[in-house]
């Protein structure tokens, strides 16, 4: 088997093994209420898809993930960049970062709902606050590693600020931004589900809450697995191609 064929076949085989373990466990349990077999999810999945519920709730969750992601990345990147460039700012803000890093996600969510109310703003803000410190810390490392030589070059040739940011600074930060973005998406969608579970009336988290109260394991799995599938598509179709595009000069 060639290397590329192997690199595609192994993940597929590995997922098939996981599916097999699930099927065996379901057969041994012999209680579809507790653990339905993979094929027993097909009917409820199809029902939710036809009624439009699945797409609506997936869409709501995806929209919240998108909003929180954009907010957390832009604030986190800006904060990390300033902290990496200025020791004074770093000394002042670093203790805050440590506090917010160690603040449990659940506490942030509950406080946002209590102070702002059970609103969309509170939900998205709570998710963003959970993610911003991680992004800032990764980007601070990136900003510290910026090349002083390129900085001098940009100054001698009096490059305007915008061009400097776009052509000199951001390309150097790209690997750090990509890393923060990929770990960020994974973290954010999990927190979005908790936020929906606790205080929203739409989204995958809300549906899981409802079916949890009805002890409907099958539907919980349908919603969870559907969203995992959506996030895999985001990873393969958006994040990985973007990363390859940004890195193309290294491969050339």
């Amino acid at each position: 088997m060639s290397d590329t064929a192997q690199s595609r076949a192994v993940p597929a085989l590995s997922l098939a093994v996981l599916l097999g373990v699930w099927a065996v466990a379901a057969l041994l349990t012999r209680d579809p209420q507790l653990l339905p077999a993979p094929w027993q999810l097909a009917v409820p999945f199809w029902g939710e898809l036809r009624s439009g519920d699945l797409l609506y709730h997936l869409g709501m969750t995806l929209w919240r993930v998108g909003c929180a992601f954009v907010l957390a990345m832009s604030i986190g990147v800006a904060l990390g960049l300033v902290m990496g460039r200025s020791n004074a700012v770093d000394r002042w803000i670093d203790p805050w970062l440590v506090v917010f890093l160690n603040l449990p996600a659940l506490v942030v969510i509950v406080l946002c709902y209590l102070w702002i109310g059970l609103t969309e703003v509170a939900a998205i803000l709570a998710v963003s606050i959970n993610k911003i410190p991680n992004v800032a810390i990764v980007l601070r490392e990136g900003a510290r590693a910026l090349s002083p030589d390129l900085d001098s070059m940009a100054r001698v040739y009096a490059m305007p600020r915008g061009a400097r940011l776009r052509h000199v600074v951001l390309p150097q930060l790209a690997p750090f931004i990509a890393g923060a973005a990929r770990s960020g998406v994974a973290l954010i969608w999990k927190i979005v589900l908790v936020v929906e579970f606790l205080g929203r009336s739409s989204g995958v988290g809300f549906q899981i809450h409802m079916h949890f109260q009805l002890f409907d394991v099958g539907m919980v799995l349908v919603y969870a697995l559907s969203f995992i599938a959506v996030m895999l598509v985001v990873e393969w179709r958006i994040l990985q191609p973007w990363e390859r595009h940004v890195r193309r000069w290294r491969a050339a």
Binding site: S152, M153, V156, Y157, M159, H167, W249, R250
Partner: protein, 201 residues
């Protein structure tokens, strides 16, 4: 015309540069010789306007260019973009003509990582001259090149200087380079370093 007058430059408590004053007229090439670590690069950074933490003053034209020891290119942008991003006023045809002048006419689309070190150095020269600088600063531009490539770079630099006639400040520790390019040679030595006429002893 550029007028440089540095009275004192310190790193912490250590005084690196003492009295260093000189002028360079348009079309003139002033070479500054001196051993490694004497403060040549520090002086260049002050003249280039990158380092503003010193006592004294530098008066000179706004259109400056610098050729660094390393090519200091943007590795994530093509050779052509490396010229056009730094000089936004430069048209594509002019940028291509500049690349052609340094022998990179057919490499416009290449990323710097795809060029040899000699080619990267030539691209860095093209970038410096593309802005038609009134002041050109060169920091050991031919260091770590093999003899043939070094000679090629020297000849190219000579041609470009003759064509654009900037006030040029060249720093090097190779006397042969200085004698070939410069109309005037000065020597930087001591601690803190001061400037003397002639190539020193």
């Amino acid at each position: 015309m550029i007028e440089v007058s540095v009275e004192d430059k310190r790193f912490g408590a250590v005084s690196v540069l003492g009295q260093v004053a000189f002028t360079v007229a348009p079309g003139e090439v002033l070479a500054i010789l001196g051993p490694s670590g004497v403060g040549k690069s520090t002086l260049l950074r002050i003249v280039a306007g990158v380092d503003e933490d010193y006592t004294g003053h530098v008066r000179g034209p706004a259109r400056r260019a610098m050729v660094f020891q390393d090519p200091t290119l943007l590795p994530w942008r093509s050779a052509l973009d490396n010229l056009r991003i730094v000089h936004p006023a430069l048209g594509e045809a002019e940028a291509l003509a500049m690349l052609d002048k340094v022998g990179l006419g057919d490499r416009g689309a290449a990323f710097p990582g795809q060029l040899s070190l000699g080619q990267q150095r030539r691209l860095s020269l093209a970038r410096a001259f593309a802005g038609r600088p009134e002041l050109l600063i060169m920091d050991e531009p031919f260091v770590s090149l093999d003899a043939a490539t070094g000679e090629e770079m020297l000849a190219l630099t000579e041609r470009l200087i003759a064509e654009t006639r900037p006030a040029t400040l060249l720093v090097t520790h190779a006397r042969a380079e200085a004698e070939r390019l410069a109309s005037r040679i000065m020597h930087l030595a001591g601690q803190p370093a001061v400037l003397r006429d002639g190539a020193g002893t």
